[in-house]
Symmetry: D2
Subunit: 474 residues, 4 copies
Amino acid sequence: MKNLLIMKFGGTSMGSAERMRVAAEIIVEQKKIRRVAVVVSAMSKTTDLLLDTMRHAELGDSATVQANLRNLLDRHLATCDQLLNIPDSEGHLVAASDAIRSLITEFERIARGIAILGERPPRSMDEAVAIGEQLSAILLAYYLQSIGVDAQPVNAAELIVTDAVFGNASPQMDATRVKCADRLGPLIADDIVPVVTGYNAATADGRPTTLGRGGSDFSASILAAVLDAAELWIWTDVDGIMSADPRLVDNVTVLSEVTYAEAAELAYNGAKVLHPRTLAPLVEKKIPVWSKNSFARQKPGTKIVSHFDEPKGVRAVTSMSDVALIAMEPSAALSGTRMMARSLDALALANVEILVFSSSSYRQSFCLLIRKHDIPVALEALESNLSIELAHHYLNPIEVDEEVGLLAVVGEGMRGIPGLAGRIFTAISRENINIIAIAQGSSELTIAVVVRRDGLERAVRSVHKECGLGVVQA
Amino acid sequence: MKNLLIMKFGGTSMGSAERMRVAAEIIVEQKKIRRVAVVVSAMSKTTDLLLDTMRHAELGDSATVQANLRNLLDRHLATCDQLLNIPDSEGHLVAASDAIRSLITEFERIARGIAILGERPPRSMDEAVAIGEQLSAILLAYYLQSIGVDAQPVNAAELIVTDAVFGNASPQMDATRVKCADRLGPLIADDIVPVVTGYNAATADGRPTTLGRGGSDFSASILAAVLDAAELWIWTDVDGIMSADPRLVDNVTVLSEVTYAEAAELAYNGAKVLHPRTLAPLVEKKIPVWSKNSFARQKPGTKIVSHFDEPKGVRAVTSMSDVALIAMEPSAALSGTRMMARSLDALALANVEILVFSSSSYRQSFCLLIRKHDIPVALEALESNLSIELAHHYLNPIEVDEEVGLLAVVGEGMRGIPGLAGRIFTAISRENINIIAIAQGSSELTIAVVVRRDGLERAVRSVHKECGLGVVQA
Amino acid sequence: MKNLLIMKFGGTSMGSAERMRVAAEIIVEQKKIRRVAVVVSAMSKTTDLLLDTMRHAELGDSATVQANLRNLLDRHLATCDQLLNIPDSEGHLVAASDAIRSLITEFERIARGIAILGERPPRSMDEAVAIGEQLSAILLAYYLQSIGVDAQPVNAAELIVTDAVFGNASPQMDATRVKCADRLGPLIADDIVPVVTGYNAATADGRPTTLGRGGSDFSASILAAVLDAAELWIWTDVDGIMSADPRLVDNVTVLSEVTYAEAAELAYNGAKVLHPRTLAPLVEKKIPVWSKNSFARQKPGTKIVSHFDEPKGVRAVTSMSDVALIAMEPSAALSGTRMMARSLDALALANVEILVFSSSSYRQSFCLLIRKHDIPVALEALESNLSIELAHHYLNPIEVDEEVGLLAVVGEGMRGIPGLAGRIFTAISRENINIIAIAQGSSELTIAVVVRRDGLERAVRSVHKECGLGVVQA
Amino acid sequence: MKNLLIMKFGGTSMGSAERMRVAAEIIVEQKKIRRVAVVVSAMSKTTDLLLDTMRHAELGDSATVQANLRNLLDRHLATCDQLLNIPDSEGHLVAASDAIRSLITEFERIARGIAILGERPPRSMDEAVAIGEQLSAILLAYYLQSIGVDAQPVNAAELIVTDAVFGNASPQMDATRVKCADRLGPLIADDIVPVVTGYNAATADGRPTTLGRGGSDFSASILAAVLDAAELWIWTDVDGIMSADPRLVDNVTVLSEVTYAEAAELAYNGAKVLHPRTLAPLVEKKIPVWSKNSFARQKPGTKIVSHFDEPKGVRAVTSMSDVALIAMEPSAALSGTRMMARSLDALALANVEILVFSSSSYRQSFCLLIRKHDIPVALEALESNLSIELAHHYLNPIEVDEEVGLLAVVGEGMRGIPGLAGRIFTAISRENINIIAIAQGSSELTIAVVVRRDGLERAVRSVHKECGLGVVQA
């Protein structure tokens, strides 16, 4: 759709009445010059509160459940009051308050069911957790109406069609395109701003799903793709994509531009700014993305583009601490390569993402880095596929090391920089941190280093400094 | 067999009448204190001459064939004369000369067949190339007899049973054990020294095979294993296993002891001193191996042992220049992990050894290093297994980079050395050499680095120096 | 355990106070001559009632839920009254009634949770459905006590350890052995009859599971195996294993003896008398199984044994109507064999059982028969594994034919009977029934025939008659 | 090429001077009405004589070699004389005789090389065996010239480009198209009849290959496809495709029309009339094929077409006696389906064609029929891929039964005939023949039956009769 801007407001950008007023200002501003559709996250901390409530419901801790529900209701009603308790908005106030109460009652029902059964079934989890986004969409939409902007809350369950992998569903783009055209098309044509819930979706037969944590970005990029948007702006509480995790490094810089490939690598290797899957829908149409700070609207943010004319060397140092290294070693009698192949196949079929894979030995031993929460699934996949080999000692017992962290240095132009690897590893060792595994591929824009977990933060700081990332980049 | 020493004399240690006399001296010396069996290579340059002759035969270049045959005959007859044209050895001289002539006639026949057909069929190649070892076994055995040592030339085709993979056969240990017991047992029991041809073997139904180039070491270790030898000594023309390739580095040192694992890694990553498969048969029985210099018998050489009580850090820097890097990159729609799995499976089934495998990317691209001569087989295996994916662009075209080299730093205790990786990479970059790929596994004793081919030698020198390998080690 | 008899009473054998009294008589009788442990199913129709209740709860139909709950309570309390409202049993009556009420309250709770969430999560389903067996175990155990037999109800969740595949869990025999020794060993040693719930189990960490419908037989054979029972008797309402489904064929006969292999084939191909997995735990120890009719205790039943000295020809004709035929056809360019291999691999990993597989064509098309309820999983597995091949027409679209039925003729000695195949197919065609696919393997004791669904019953009758199965066998 | 007829003359149609004259007559006849290109086999028995000569050469039996060579020369020179020793053809006679002598000298050279080496390397085998077709092409081409037809012998090594699988190469159609356009295009345009050698080809870099025995048909269909011929006529010594092997059955009938699919199935299952691969190149362009008898030119032959409007029921009964049944049975602990998948994958990679595959058992045993000559390759593939499973008894030892035969009943309309399967199996059992395995797929036009070898012929006769194939078909 020509001249369409999709803007997504994250949890902190929706975190209070004040923040929602800022979001509304931005919307008003942009709406003057183009068509606008909005995707919203739940108010900050709401999703965690919802999940926490369901956990306590499962355990039968009704006191906490009640306290959480009260907390949830109070906060949203208070925000509602702050936004809409203004002259001439009584109707909006009543309608929004009723909608909030009704949604929270809905959530309470699910929590009660979970409490009774003592388990949290995934479909109900997906239904329940999406309440957070519905609450914030209602608040923002009614507020927009109250200030004279035609707006309408829209539940993404009516728009985005996914498979039935609850908790981590994948969109079906063709079906989604049809639904979005039907439901959003007329709104946008009539100059009405749709305020769409991020994160949630539904299967073709209407069962609620979610796109995985951080999936609101993904919701926005899916909408941008199926609506052929001109741009996608992602409003967060940071100034853009940074040269490192600012919690670990003091003097991080904001990158003014990164490529899709760099942004994907950064997200994949631990940078929190974007959901890793966000960019995939946009690549084909080269829809540019801006990551912006709603707390500092004047700042330029980071622009994510298709490619650079000139590569820019090292861009950032990312890190992941919730990872584990799995090491496998065939005994002499066996073709290690076939074991590698079967291991990778088993992990692929079990949907375990392999962050790093490395092998360089006559013994054909190999190691691979996965996310910690994938350990049980990964081990089961490996052990069931290689059960005979393990039982009869053609393979040594699988070793899992959870005391590791991943540091990744990312940048498209990196390979042209002489001495970079040496400087990176010297920077790590300067801090007396043990390097466990290294992988750098030929066509890749990442050097991945697995280090002892307790040295990860120091390693990041040291490499960030060594690569000269702590100064403003062009 | 209690107190049995297997000694293998390499090509230079059999390279002249003088060298054979030294070998005989060593045999006499050891025979005083234990039982001895000997494995011999062809006289230096003989195998190359045989192969060259067959190549020219295939091309129909009969002039070169004739010249080579003359050269072959002259050299062996001259050596025979130098060894046996001594008082009271006339019988040996005649018998040995006759045997030499007869073997070379045999070879001439095969060369003629090749010339006629214009191709070099593998079975005939294996039959022909083993003539070299038969010639040297005859020379040494008759010389030993002439100096009063009971000795007998033995064709390994009567001892070692292999599969039918001509040119690179694998031993069948049980059948080999039976044959060795039958054929060598009585000789050794009667105090007769068997002088066994290295490198060659035969299938169970008697077709000639060879164990791959450098396979004489393997022959010796197979015999050591099936005969339960107490030790295996491998006589070469260098002082032992070195800290780097002495052609590249000036001040290499000889390692006094290495572990089986280190020796295997060194051989696998390019050190020429041992055939990579040599050690496998010995590991189970922990038969120690000595690598010794027949040109400097007083030097201690390198002892290869089961393990060290205390790891010794970096031991050596090896390098390989006849390698190629294959890079593969799935397009977005595909699970890269399954592609990796299928690629590895295809390569394993095609018997392509993967020297280095590395992957660390969101895009699930990966690269693997193979030997240059495996490129056609590897590409065919990958392309036929992934033909549909390649045809429909789920995979980008496979890239092959032949302008690369492998540098590997090896040592069991390496991981305990702080800062090592940094120093290695700094040493490489100090020489302005581009690093293409890196792999280091968790349980491994090798850091493998793929660099631009034209920087390989400088990289080796720089890393060797940086690791302090250029001084005498304890 | 020496001299231990495990007896399992099925749903109809536990179907009323009267039937439970018969079961008790049988127990008393056997207890005179050996040690006895008992496994019970839920009272007939109870499991269906429980499942129906949960289905209606999910749909929010509380009227049906309430009616079902009332029905459930009434029936069990009435049975309790009929069994225990006798002189001197007041204490048993009160205790049993209380236990029944408490279990049904428990079930009601789960139904309420399901109603609230609008979904039936598998763990809660397994917890809820096991209430049926707990009810019947309580009734039988208290009744046994009331007539002076030391007995104790035991929840199999305390005995049988399984994996976490809710609804169709697999036992972990070693852990189960330990638990059974701990929990049942002392009871049996003290001459107390354990009355164990069939069908249900628990994971190692205590989450409730079930063994799949009909799993009470499996429960009994698991206990027989881990307790080293001398025999296993399975009491049902039919006279034993029959020569065909008596609902389809008038004059079926009861087989006096079948082998494990025959019984497994019969169960696998549709005979309802035994859960297909029942026999696996017994094979190694050759524990004999009797299938007996508690409504006709004087009849001999069918004995299932390790093997026959003399094979007995065709034993039975089974049938399955809830099956579907999947047909796949590669286009010319592709190796059909690899497609077959990948299809089978995909189905194996998706846990789809392949009842029949057949291929006999130059075009390398193939077809396979699966259970109807596996269609979605099978199609998803095939389509995701072969997505590229399907998308680019290397494979024709997968065809699914649900209008088929399976007829299987089973018998160990069958292959020795001349003309059998001809007679079978003539018998089928005599009824004008179309044969769609045929598979008979070399070492197999089954001829499997896929026919049009609407001819299945007639085909069974015709083949049963043709094979002379409608007369009493020795 | 518009109006182009490719005619292929088989061995008997080239078997003597007389036969060649007939072939020439046919060519002259057709050439009046359209463009003609010809493909020729070697004179009958010549290929066997060439192969026999090389076998004896390998064994060193020079007497037989010399006798064969003399035989070869005499027969071709005699034929040459009979054809060309006519007035005004002296030039042709001399030229043809010289060419024959020169080709046989060439063959003698290769036989000598084989004798010297004592092995028959595949590339030289392919070079040598193609001499037969070159001889017959020379004879026919010179004879055509002598009777005034412009003709030219063409070695297919200049036309058909294949991979390097010596003895059974596969064509590379695009490269072949280019070469044929270059080499044959101008000839045909100039009204010159190319007389192309069947069976042989060459790799892109010029190494000689062959297309597998019977490959002359394939040569002709490759040329028809790349030259866009209007029709392909295949001249043999039988009246067309028959309802059974006339050596087994007295009253076979000639089928007037069959479909490509039927013809392929017939060839695949043993009918000798066409090389199984012949039809593949023609399917896309629907080029019709006639199988005709050069000994009875007036007879219509069999036309092979794309499809029938009305299916015609059972068409023929084929048989293969050089087959073996491989049976595999997993032990209890293993997923049989994965074993099936891995077995099929291993066989596919080893290029073993699976004629029949059948599985229908709870035990997941399965059996597959292969050609006898594939046994060693198949067993090696299965044993190496499943070595661990076999070693540890997860799989029972692989059983091979060579005393079996395959009978296949083929016809597109077969499935519509009620009672057919019954009649087929009754017909087999009437002869007291044991049926070992059966496979019929859903979409297939073949019922495949594996029987004891010694009953195969009787089974074919009985089924042929039962299906009413012994009468003239419309």
